[in-house]
Symmetry: C2
Subunit: 206 residues, 2 copies
């Protein structure tokens, strides 16, 4: 009975690392996605480690083989999300070049897309941010601030007369508008996407 397994197990290590490493990475990913869903549903403090582990197929303190604490699971989710948002925003702006209007439209489309496909993370972000330890929260806030400034820069090109404080308020309001998706996704994704994009652009360029 060893032959079959011997043929299956020692594959040329497609991930580039040992089988145990790949299994561990999968577990970690499963934990993160389960955590995002659970935190979004009930809020960070009301999810126990036992529940979290169970949702990923392991049970209880096994989480500590992947994260140093419950808080660090939350931190991993939020840092990853903030970095993704910032990187994506930069890419969009770079692609638009000097065309400020195109940059704004790209940012809106990108953010709507992110919100629609990461509703859980959105919920967690403005739900449980202050359950983070101070340094983690500062890190996430710093990333978010950079992302906001990305928007403000683009808006400043379109509305040179307006103060940056006001533009910042506009950007935050626009995020609130787009991030309303998790609370209201009754309509289909296609309709929701086009409604949100139109509303956001109208609100920003009126």
């Amino acid at each position: 009975m060893t032959d079959a397994r011997a043929a299956a197990a020692p594959e040329p290590t497609p991930g580039g690392a040992t089988a145990r490493d790949r299994a561990k990475a999968e577990r970690r990913a499963a934990l993160l996605s389960a955590a995002a869903r659970l935190f979004a549903e009930r809020g960070f403090p009301r999810v126990s480690l036992d529940e979290l582990g169970a949702a990923a197929g392991v049970s209880g303190p096994a989480v500590y083989k992947h994260f140093v604490s419950k808080q660090s699971v939350l931190a991993a989710i939020l840092v990853e999300a903030s970095e993704g948002l910032l990187a994506g925003g930069r890419a969009v702006i770079g692609a638009a070049g000097a065309d400020a209007r195109a940059a704004l439209e790209g940012l809106v489309a990108f953010h709507v897309d992110f919100a629609l496909s990461n509703a859980d993370v959105i919920r967690v972000q403005d739900h449980d941010l202050d359950s983070l330890a101070d340094d983690d929260r500062h890190a996430v806030r710093a990333l978010q601030r950079q992302y906001v400034e990305l928007w403000v820069d683009v808006l400043a090109r379109l509305r040179p007369a307006e103060a940056r404080v006001a533009l910042r308020t506009r950007a935050h309001a626009c995020f609130g508008l787009i991030n309303s998706t998790p609370h209201s996704s009754r309509a289909g994704a296609r309709v929701t996407r086009s409604i949100l994009e139109a509303m956001a652009l109208a609100a920003l360029t009126a």
Copy 2:
């Protein structure tokens, strides 16, 4: 030494009830406002009853002389807010009569005003709603749904061709836009108010 107090204490009971009743009502109000602030700052599960009591001048289990549980404090805040929102919305629509555009502008102004002067409650509302017991949450949700339908009715008058599902998405997005205030009130209240009103109307009537 009785004379001075005898002259001061038995006032004609200005509140209409006994002095003890008035004191109790004040305590209850103090507890509610302290709770709104604390819940907004740190989230419902991370505020202990001792902290809550201390913030209102009493300490610890004295809260149980005014509320049957910690959850019921949260429920009182959210039910009161939702009822206020619904009643205010109805009043605004009634005052506008047949002019749908005026009704919408009134709703926007009213909601912006509410969000600016009740930032704490706004934060608590979309932070800790699911920390409520099932029946309380259902009650709040029912009130919120009626408020949303108020907006949808007005929007339907202005956009007769659009499906109500889509209009509901628009309403939620608009709430998200306006309710972004607590996250971004860096600019002054006056500027913020006019920016939010303009953005909301632009988003809804584009």
